[in-house]
Amino acid sequence: MITSVLLPIGLGAAATVAAMAMPPRLAMPFATMVAAAAFVLLLWAVPQVAGGAAITASFWGVPSLGITGGLSLDGLSLLFALLITGIGALVFLYAGSYLHDDPRRSRFAAIVLMFMTAMLGAVMADDVVTLFIFWELTSLASFFLVGFDHEKATARRAALQALLVTGGGGLALLAGLVLVAAAAGTTAISGIIAAREAVLAAPAAEAAMILVIIGCFAKSAQVPLHFWLPNAMAAPTPVSAYLHSATMVKLGVYLLARLNPVYLEHDLWQGVLTWFGLATALTGAFLALRETDLKRVLAYTTVTGLGTLVMLIGIPPALSATAAIVFLLVHAFYKAALFLVAGIVDHETGMRDASALGGLARVMPITALGAVLAALSMAGLPPFVGFVAKELVYEAKLESGDAAGLLVAGGFLVNAAMVAIAGVLSFRLFFARPRPTPKAPHDPGWAMMTGPLVLGILGLLAGGIPSLFGSWLVNPAAAALLGESVRVDLALWHGFSPLLVLSIATVAMGVGLYLAWERLGLVLRSLRQLDRFGPARAYDRVLGALVPAAARVTGMVQHGSLRDYLRTLFLVASLGALITLAFRGGISLPSVEAGWPDPRIFVPILLIAGAVAAVLARTLIAAIMASGLVGFATAVLFLVNGAPDLAFTQFAVETLFVVILAATLVRLPLRGRLPRSPRDRWIDASIAGCAGGAMTLLLLAVLATPFDPRLSVWFGAESVPAAHGRNVVNVILVDFRALDTLGEITVLALAAIAVLAVLRSIRGETRA
């Protein structure tokens, strides 16, 4: 059964590469088949997983870093994986027609396949590192797909916004996961859940939890990070249906659910999830009523759905886990279907303004059927599974204790808004008074119709026989949320109860909102002034300030002034040496030896004289001569201290240097001094003083430590027996450090070649 885990991922990865090289005509059918095959493979695993046994596998790992790289397919993973591959197959089928002559179909198929593979990896990962890598891959895929129409500025902007928000959240998530894994002592998610006491007792437990929540909130568009999702509707509609409603945006919900067994009794976890979830649901409902663009309406209802899911995870367990899973399933069905319908309407009529469309059922009867099926589920009417979900959600809220009243009231408003919007998307769009459209619409081909119809009928079936879905899919998934097995029997009919009353009241309120939809929209749109205080504006402000700030920092660091670079370099190096010496107690003042000074004392005096003369020289020739004096004094220093080889090399180099410099100077202007300003002179002199002082103090510190002769003695002793050479310096160079010397010869040869090349180019340039 390991094939159910590894094969879908392997298949997806291979298909991604294959689709790229495929002619556009074949890419979509191929991708459809790959997704369908993966779906069937996963379906195979349902009986085993429903029996309570997770299927595990491993395909990579870095044991030295404690990364297990395991994969695990349990109820929750399987539910997600089935949604990813099943809806994926329908979306590919749909996209083949939607993008019918688009030459970019191969690229589209490849990116969406990559996304599908990454999603599968993310939901199957039993290792936070694996999970994180796949998580980020989905953000990348989303970036490419939102910006698919990259010639449009709005698409590019939306793509960048989606990437920055989810990617920024990803950074927070990474930090949180690292903290959690460190506290648990393992990167395996099963291990983290097993070590929940250690995770909760760690010093940074709360910080880790909040960081993980931020990452999940960014991905799942929770308030205040929800603003990127409606803008992501710049993507082609199949992408919106797939990534931005059914799958990717639920990844944050998935991870919250996955880690719920660790934190479920934590007050902060419950509070943050419940209230931010409710706030998100309300914000989404409010903004959805304001919009008229079909896709944006759907995007905001998706925000509502995601908020509801997060809230359900946060509500103390009992029924809420089951409610969350049922709602997840329901939402994926109807939202993907409605997005696909919106795509069809856009495709056929050439417009997607809900307020200007109507009566399409006459010309598009089958599309209307799909829309109505999905909308009834969205409105939560029996016998659709949406009704089961809504009842469960209400029940979970009623059981949640102190805050039940507030949660139910909020949920009531949200659900009523959903009923109204479901009405707009089905009855108004398809049955109200017909209006003129730019194109003459008709039902599209079967490929585009399959998706909405299959998803709509699934919603009906799941509502009709909820017990089947309950035992095979919902209960195993809810078990993963709680960390213990769950047995809730789902039913369509609960009898006459307060729940039913609540449901009826919701629908009544929803119908009222539907009837007032146009006027309500006008009122809400007049409140757009409030957007000034919204997070979208804050994002613009931050981004608007970031680019100039980056330019300023770059200008400061990469200023382009050679002298300032060198000043920085010398100042940092010498201050670093001085500060280290001071703090490590390395400054040692020498004791001056008494007695007659060594006659060799004239050498350092010559060195000083030459260097000072070079600085004070008024002409370049004088400076060159002074520097020659330093060179020759150095040679003498070598000569009188037992280093004749060095002395001769120094003499030779010094002579050559003067020759080359003279040859260069023939071409350069010798006259014309370039004096520095008095201020520059002070700065440079101070830096030079620091550098000189650091050098002297460093050398004195070296001299104050006892000399360790081991290496020198070893070379002296081994020179004759090991290398048969009596000149120890030569033996070191050509025997003991022969490879180093070879490297140095290479450097010198390269320098010679480079000099030659530059000289040749100069010759060419001056001739031309």
Partner: protein, 133 residues
């Protein structure tokens, strides 16, 4: 003696840094030469001064005499001198090329070529601009 050399090395270093920070590029090059000389002396000095006898094993003897100079820093400095020479030679032809191409030996003038508005259009970074929503 060693202390005097340490002091001299510091002064040569300071003078070389002062020269390296000049505006005239030939002075900068001279500063580099002096700086590498100072570095060589520092290595040599770290191996201690004193003995006049070169580190050569006497004919017939198996090992280096105790009063010979320290061979290790000599080996290091020998290559350093040559590499330093290579560096200076390359710096000088670059200066020459720079002068022929740009017509200046002033370090402060070189900065102009680094400004974006002086770069060829192909490498100029795009202007940051905000697009309407």
């Amino acid at each position: 003696m060693e202390i005097a050399v340490a002091l001299a090395t510091g002064i040569v270093t300071g003078c070389s840094v002062y020269l390296v920070l000049s505006r005239h590029l030939i002075r900068v090059a001279i500063g580099f030469v002096l700086f590498s000389t100072a570095a060589n002396i520092a290595i040599f000095l770290s191996g201690r001064l004193g003995p006049m006898a070169p580190p050569v094993v006497e004919a017939g003897a198996g090992a280096l005499a105790a009063d010979a100079a320290n061979p290790l820093p000599q080996a290091l400095v020998l290559t350093a001198i040559v590499i330093g020479f290579g560096l200076v030679a390359f710096t000088l032809v670059l200066l020459l090329k720079g002068f022929i191409r740009l017509g200046t030996v002033d370090a402060d003038d070189l900065r102009e070529t680094d400004r974006p508005d002086n770069a060829p259009a192909a490498v100029r970074p795009a202007e940051p601009r905000r697009e309407a929503a």
